[in-house]
Amino acid sequence: MLRIYYVWEWPVRITHWINVFSMFMLSITGFYIGSPFMTAPDSSMYIMGWMRFLHFTFAYLFTVSVAARILWMFIGNHHASWRAFFPWLTVEGRKNFIKMFRYYTFTGKRISYEVGHNPVAATAYLGIFALFIFQIVSGFAMYGQFAPGGFWDSILGGLNVLVGNQWMRMLHHGVMWLLIGFIINHVYSGWLMDIKERNGTMSGIFSGYRYIEPEDL
């Protein structure tokens, strides 16, 4: 008999949607900062000023959200746990990873039936967390340049010297595009799994519930 599982606890869902909104705002404002696509008709406007203000505000929001989600990896249920992001550490995880990968590449017929993340998705999210942390660190390293000797410059300023001022900007820019590429993939895979798994993949990230047939697990 089908059962309703409470999989995604509220901190997981809230941080997910804060990340979505922050990334949307950060990409738009960040893109403007990189190449201003609007020109102010007169000096009384404050377009770049607002774009930078929003970028820094959402940067802080995003940082808090990512930090909270990482904290929840040690508090939340086993789907939210940090262990869920290293599926290939177990025999079963490796087996399901291959099964899922074969399904995606049209070489296998069945989806690995999971309550939480499937192993391929979990691996992708591990990479995404790494990119998140990269964006946060590189972003605040560059942000700190306005105040040498200040908080951000003291803790992260050395990275600008190590990587180079311009390369830091280039990488921050490039990773934005990688994240946009990931979002396209992520939404597509969510849609595909919603259709094929028939267990509420899409609604799960709103409600937290998934509809599972325990016998098929």
Binding site: G34, Y46, F106, K109, G164, G181, Y188, K196, R198, N199
Partner: protein
């Protein structure tokens, strides 16, 4: 109670001014020089008499060594600024050796250098201009039969302090730009751990050099430096944060091309690739050539000449971001990014269409109820 009115502006003792006049430096020029230098060092004005005293008392021996360079820093210094700081400082220091301006030549000049080094061992100030090639055992640059590597190491090790002027001596500069055929390096990488202060810039700003020397004379030590060994008084702030066009940047008013209406109205040069946001230097406040102007004031974006690896990383000079390695010169990071996003969307779109036609792979097939 102490009020602003009680603060007495300190003045330079009359005797010093008289002695300077006897040397042919007018009191007005000397006061201007000392005041400007005190201000450049971000010292309180109460330090003025101390600075004047230090400048008068000491006549430190200075050796100016030049390696792979264009002599641009020597030129910048000699072409001077404020009542010829160059002149004043040349009167105040004892310049033992300087390729560009010394009268001696050949073996005689080298002899002088060696003698000065021996005589003032551990006391002289060394100023280095230009990078040091290390390729082919240093054969790319030799002075009097000795390689620049050998010469520079010896001079740095025997100096009280070394001041690297210009981006070549501080970070390798243009000779060290890719592919760096002579394997040029900076002084600090040639002699790690030495007492060195870096004054990058292409060329160095003469005011900053003068101020560094005066700091050394006044306090007996080099000024406080940042992570790249640059004095904080001169490289402690970003050009962008002190720029006179900053208002236009924040408003969103940009010159789109040289000579367009925005450019003519003095709008921000950000979209023309100005590297002010990436560059730490006091150009907007000190300016060049007797404080007359500096690149952004003249209508050209900053090219980031005082940052490490500027020739490779700050170029293309008219673009915001460096060239992406492995791609064509016209490919910007954004073009590549849009291509990546489009390719991802296309690939998953095709995958999605194929998946729609796939049969028998959906779960819970037996539980599906078809409604009438």
């Amino acid at each position: 109670m102490k009020t602003d009115l009680d603060v007495v502006t300190p003045s330079i003792p009359e005797e010093i001014l008289l002695r300077m006049e006897a040397k042919g430096i007018s009191r007005r020029d000397f006061i201007k020089f000392c005041t400007a230098t005190t201000a450049a060092l971000a010292l309180p004005i109460s330090m003025l008499p101390k600075v004047a005293q230090a400048v008068e008392d000491n006549r430190p021996p200075v050796i100016w060594a030049e390696y792979q360079s264009c002599s641009g820093d020597s030129e910048a210094f000699l072409r001077g600024n404020q009542p010829t700081a160059g002149e004043i400082i040349l009167d105040l220091i004892s310049l033992e050796y300087a390729d560009v301006i010394m009268a001696a030549a050949g073996h005689q000049a080298e002899e002088n250098k060696l003698q000065a080094m021996e005589k003032y061992k551990g006391q002289y100030i060394l100023i280095v201009e230009g990078s040091i090639p290390t390729g082919a055992d240093g054969a790319y640059c030799t002075i009097g039969g000795h390689s620049a590597m050998e010469d520079c190491k010896k001079l740095v090790q025997n100096a009280a302090a070394t001041i690297c002027v210009g981006t070549c001596a501080t970070f390798g500069g243009i000779p060290a730009a890719a592919p760096n055929p002579t394997n040029a390096v900076s002084v600090s990488s040639l002699v790690p751990g030495a007492t060195i202060v870096n004054l990058p810039g292409c060329p160095v700003n003469a005011e900053n050099l003068t101020a560094t020397i005066v700091h050394f004379l006044t306090f007996g030590k080099l000024p406080a430096v940042d992570r790249l060994g640059r004095p904080k008084f001169a490289y402690g702030k970003r050009i962008h944060d002190n720029c006179e066009r900053r208002g236009h940047f924040d408003a969103g008013q940009y010159a789109e091309s040289f000579g367009d209406p925005g450019h003519r109205q003095g709008h921000c040069l950000y979209k023309l690739g100005c590297k002010g946001p990436e560059t730490f230097h006091n150009c907007p406040t000190v300016r060049y050539n007797e404080g007359i102007s500096w690149p952004v004031m003249a209508g050209h974006g900053c090219i980031g000449c005082s940052e490490p690896g500027f020739w490779d990383t700050m170029s293309p000079f008219y673009r915001r971001l460096p060239k992406v390695p492995g791609f064509g010169i016209e490919d910007t990071a954004d073009k590549i990014g849009i291509g990546l996003a489009a390719a991802t969307a296309l690939a998953f779109g095709i995958h999605g269409v194929a998946s729609c036609f796939r049969k028998g792979d959906a779960m819970e097939e037996d539980k599906v109820v078809k409604e009438d």
